[in-house]
């Protein structure tokens, strides 16, 4: 049977060659149809052969290939008479492709499947792709030349044409959808073969040959483009820093812990940008183009401090040499432009300060909006468990470690889903729960009140000590306030944790309550602290509590007056005479280090913030090392010789404290925002701190912590963190904005010295650097009569947008419900 088929094919082949050799003529039509018949028979034969061994097929294919080549050769002969250069080009291409194929044939293994089958196989093999494209091109070209030759033929009748068209379309569709069929390979191959043959033969007859070349080319380009896009996406994902670390943590500890690290990474990004701004636009120009160290009084270490200026202790405290450098506000000169670029330093300083705040607001709100979109949009949980079961394994994993991680993450994810499910199924005894919750809140309030009172008490006491002179008291009394505040900060959250176990909330909600309570604790402490100090502003106790800016500033004011007075006296002493009213004597050369300095409250404030950040960092690291690491070591090694099981009872391994760390991060960032206007070095320090913190915490988590018992999904928590961040941002920009707008800058230091208000830089710039009409326009625009309606308009638009978004959400929910009901009906 097979041999019959072969013979037929062989004879058909011979026929072809003969026919082609003789060139065109009306004979064309008939041989083709004859061939068609022969093909028809072939086709049937093939179908019978379906379950034959591969061998015959392969042999058949071999012959087929040679036939094709033969045909190609024949075509060339016939084409040689053809006029259009296109066909000649086709020919040339064809020839080269033929050569290619032949080469590859010989090169490749004697895999009988050969090229045809290669094309039939759907390998994402690039070679395969090209070959497929080649083959398509060849097809098209052949049909192209076929059609050319046809144009000289009498057309086939309309009916036949239509029928042929249909069949060709059918075959083409079959070819296209062949991949989708779950048949065995052999069947697919055979069906493909005959369909291709059919299309080959008859496409020419329908004169659709031209233009397909572009199609094939386009298809190939599309594939290449898609591959490129995919590679690019992969590359971009690989570029995200710390992605692998975070994935590892996520797989072992769950998404809530990982969300902290993602938050940390996001903060790092923001700080990098802030760092870029302050460094590039403020610190570098001043360092490069401003007057160097030592040229101005404000830039030099005063004579009195010179001896200790370079000591490590002084530097660590950020005074001495560090104080009189680009790191702090005081160094900057108030010259309007510096250097040959005419860089407007004060303007830049001002704008960078405002810009950092503006940028931070923008990005926090943008992230909130994005999170809101992600959450509210498509939270389709209809097949939650099924999807987890069937689609969570990543088939690409080939590395055992990655596989471990993946298993862990799948397990964790299942556990999370189970927790969610259990929570939704829990039946509550409402009254008991409510009572317990009320009780818990009451306890929390008591704690807050207690800590507030404690701080108040301690502050009063230390003021009493100060009045009596600090020397009489030891270290504890001196630092009582700081110590008490830190201790409160350490123990109250644990207390809150214990209280929250009464409440029996879903872990995510419990986390929020925890965060809220700790937040309230810190704010409350700060507030009582400031209140306690308010009464003391009049007393000169400011150098004991260098925390409040307000305090410092007021102290500064008085000092300024004193210093100004002193300075005039000092100048007069230089002239060895009376104090002339309108002195026109030339300035005497004095070493800048000797000039008496005015107080520079901005630098002092900046220093305070920097010191605070540094000490905060140190505290965090030490807590991690002691609290987590040493504890883990202790539990691990002392477990053998201890009475009770350390690992299960107290103290056991610590869990990762999400809320504490998140709050720490947020408050730290608040301090940065507050202080970066006065100390441009703060973002830099923070970048460094976040960088090291990331590595240290990742290591500590993997090494010393155990996953929580109830892992939960953290998807909605991100917006909660953002909301807190926004609040802190707002709070921390208030002081800076207040000082910009209402407080005169120090007269002796900083880029705004000499002005009555810091924002006068803007008006100065407008006058000098912009054309006059600009100033006028600005003047009109800042008229309150214009601004108030504008604000009103914005409020109204906010209201409107809010209303529309609510209505969209509702419509969305309705549609979802409809979908759900339609689905369940089916």
């Amino acid at each position: 049977d097979g041999s019959d088929v072969d013979n037929e094919e062989g004879s058909a082949a011979e026929n072809e060659e003969n026919v082609k050799g003789t060139g065109k003529g009306t004979k064309r039509a008939t041989p083709r149809t004859r061939r068609g018949h022969a093909r028809g028979r072939d086709r049937h034969g093939d179908e019978e052969d379906e379950d034959d061994e591969d061998g015959t097929r392969r042999a058949g294919h071999r012959r087929h290939r040679s036939r094709r080549r033969g045909r190609g050769a024949g075509k060339e002969a016939s084409d040689s008479d053809m006029e259009p250069s296109k066909s000649r080009k086709n020919q040339a291409n064809q020839k080269s492709k033929e050569d290619d194929e032949e080469e590859e044939d010989e090169k490749g293994g004697k895999n009988g499947k050969g090229k045809n089958e290669k094309k039939a196989d759907k390998k994402p093999d690039k070679k395969g792709k090209k070959e497929k494209a080649n083959k398509k091109k060849k097809d098209k070209k052949k049909s192209g030349s076929g059609s050319d030759s046809d144009s000289e033929e009498e057309p086939i009748t309309e009916e036949e044409l239509a029928k042929l068209k249909e069949e060709v379309e059918e075959k083409k569709k079959l070819i296209a959808t062949l991949r989708n069929k779950p048949w065995k390979m052999k069947k697919k191959l055979s069906v493909l073969k005959e369909a291709q043959l059919f299309v080959d033969k008859f496409e020419g007859a329908l004169g659709k040959g031209k233009g397909k070349k572009f199609y094939a080319y386009k298809v190939m380009m599309m594939k290449k483009w898609m591959k490129f896009q995919r590679d690019f996406e992969n590359f971009k994902t690989a570029c995200i820093p710390w992605e692998m670390k975070i994935k590892e943590i996520e797989s072992h500890f769950g998404s809530s812990v990982a969300s902290y690290f993602i938050f940390l990474r996001w903060m790092y990004g923001i700080n990098m940008i802030l760092f870029g701004l302050t460094f590039g636009l403020v610190m570098v120009p001043e360092a490069l183009m401003g007057k160097p160290y030592g040229s101005l009084p404000r830039k030099t270490v005063p004579r009195a401090e010179e001896a200790t200026a370079m000591n490590f202790a002084t530097l660590w405290d950020f005074s001495g040499f560090a104080q009189y450098s680009v790191l702090f506000y005081g160094y900057y000169n108030n010259q309007r432009t510096i250097g040959w670029l005419k860089f407007r330093m004060p303007l830049s300083y001002f704008l960078v300060g405002v810009g950092t705040i503006g940028y931070s607001f923008m990005i926090v709100i943008r992230t909130m909006a994005k999170n809101a979109n992600d959450d509210g949009g498509g939270d389709d949980t209809s097949f939650n468990f099924s999807w987890k079961m069937f689609t969570s394994w990543d088939y690409l994993i080939g590395n055992p470690e990655t596989a471990d991680n993946k298993f862990a993450s799948i397990t964790t994810s299942f556990k999370e889903a189970i927790v969610e499910e259990q929570e939704s199924r829990k039946e509550e005894n409402i009254h008991l729960t409510r009572f317990l919750r009320v009780l818990a809140n009451f306890l929390a309030l008591c704690t807050l009140a207690g800590s507030g009172y404690l701080i108040f008490f301690v502050v009063r006491r230390s003021q009493k000590f100060a009045l009596e002179g600090l020397e009489n008291y030891g270290w504890w009394e001196r630092n009582e306030v700081n110590m008490v505040m830190s201790l409160l900060g350490m123990f109250c959250p644990t207390l809150f944790d214990v209280i929250s176990s009464l409440e029996n909330y879903h872990p995510r909600i419990a986390l929020r309550w925890q965060l809220g309570r700790i937040f309230a604790l810190f704010l409350g402490n700060l507030y009582t602290f400031i209140i306690a100090l308010m009464d003391e502003i009049n007393l000169k106790a400011r150098y004991l509590f260098p925390f409040t800016m307000f305090d410092i500033y007021l102290g500064n004011l008085e000092e300024e007056k004193i210093v100004k007075y002193n300075m005039t006296i000092w100048e007069a002493s230089l002239y060895n005479g009376t104090i002339p009213e309108n002195s026109t004597a030339p300035p005497i050369q004095v070493d800048p280090a000797d000039v008496p300095r005015g107080p520079c409250w901005e630098t002092m404030v900046g220093q305070e913030f920097v010191r605070l950040t540094v000490s905060d960092t140190m505290t965090t690291y030490i807590t991690i090392l002691i609290g987590d690491f040493l504890r883990a070591v202790f539990v691990r090694f002392f477990n053998y010789c201890w009475c009770w099981d350390l690992e299960y009872g107290f103290p056991s391994y610590s869990e990762f404290d999400i809320s504490g760390n998140v709050l720490g991060l947020i408050f730290n960032q608040g301090m940065i925002w507050m202080g970066s206007f006065y100390a441009p070095c703060l973002p830099a320090i923070n970048v460094f701190r976040l960088h090291t913190s990331m590595y240290l915490q990742c290591w500590a988590v993997m090494c010393c912590n155990v996953p929580q018992e109830r892992v939960f999904k953290a998807s909605r928590s991100n917006n909660f963190y953002m909301a807190m961040l926004l609040f802190i941002l707002f709070l921390s920009t208030l002081p800076a904005v207040y000082t910009i707008v209402s407080i005169p800058p120090s007269f002796d230091c900083g880029p705004f010295s000499g002005k009555t208000r810091m924002f006068e830089v803007i008006s100065e710039t407008l006058e000098h650097d912009f054309p006059s009409w600009f100033g006028k326009v600005f003047g009109y625009a800042s008229n309150p009569g214009l601004i108030l309606p504008f604000i009103l308009l914005m409020v109204l638009s906010i209201y409107y947008l809010n209303a529309t978004s609510k209505s969209y959400k509702e419509a969305n929910l309705e549609l979802k419900k409809k979908l759900q009901s339609v689905r369940t009906e089916n």
Binding site: E53, D54, G55, T56, R58, A59, R62, G108, G109, K110, N111, G112, K113, E117, K118, D121, K122, K123, P124, D125, K127, G128, R179, N180, K181, P182, K184, M185, K186, D380, S382, F383, N384, F385, S386, W387, K388, M389, F390, T391, S392, W393, D394, Y395, L396, I397, G398, N399, P400, T402, A403, F407, I410, T411, F414, K415, A417, I418, E421, N826
Partner: protein, 161 residues
């Protein structure tokens, strides 16, 4: 395909011939195949190989081999992958995914870290979610319906060579 053949050949050089013109009847046993690096870490490797195997025992001829990789490749369309995925998860090959199939799947996925009640909970939930015709197990229609809505499905069935 040359590469595939190279891999196939690598696994058992003495058995797999380079020349397929005479169509030798060569099948590779399952053990060899599941040691391939791409499959080694996969918890479903036996099932994958099993569902492509012609003789049902898990030995793959070269045709089957190519079949398998073609379905796992990114060029295969969604419906095709769904069909084969169903076969993979159907452990007892009764053309239904019943509760015990689900339990086995879950155990393989989590390496048996979940407790028994958690396992039953999950399996019940799955049947509850996906079973449309109410027969207590998942037929192919149920599976297809559920999978077609899953966003992650295609992503994880990709295989790049």
């Amino acid at each position: 395909v040359y590469r595939l053949h190279g891999r196939y050949h690598e696994m058992a050089p003495n058995v797999v011939p380079m020349d397929y013109t005479k169509d030798p009847d060569v099948k590779l046993p399952m053990q060899l195949i599941i040691n391939m690096p791409e499959l080694k870490e996969n918890p479903f490797k036996e099932r994958i190989v099993g569902s492509f195997s012609e003789d049902g025992e898990g030995s793959l001829s070269f045709n089957d081999f190519v079949d398998m990789f073609s379905v796992l490749s990114e060029m295969a369309p969604r419906e095709l992958k769904a069909i084969y995925a169903f076969k993979i998860y159907d452990f007892n090959t009764d053309n239904f995914i019943c509760k015990s199939d689900l339990e086995q799947t879950l155990n393989k996925l989590t390496r048996e870290e979940l407790t028994a009640e958690e396992i039953t909970l999950v399996c019940e939930k799955v049947i509850e979610e996906a079973d449309m015709d109410g027969d207590g197990k998942l037929g192919f229609a149920d599976f297809e319906n559920m999978i077609s809505k899953a966003p992650d499905f295609l992503r994880y069935y990709f295989k790049q060579k």
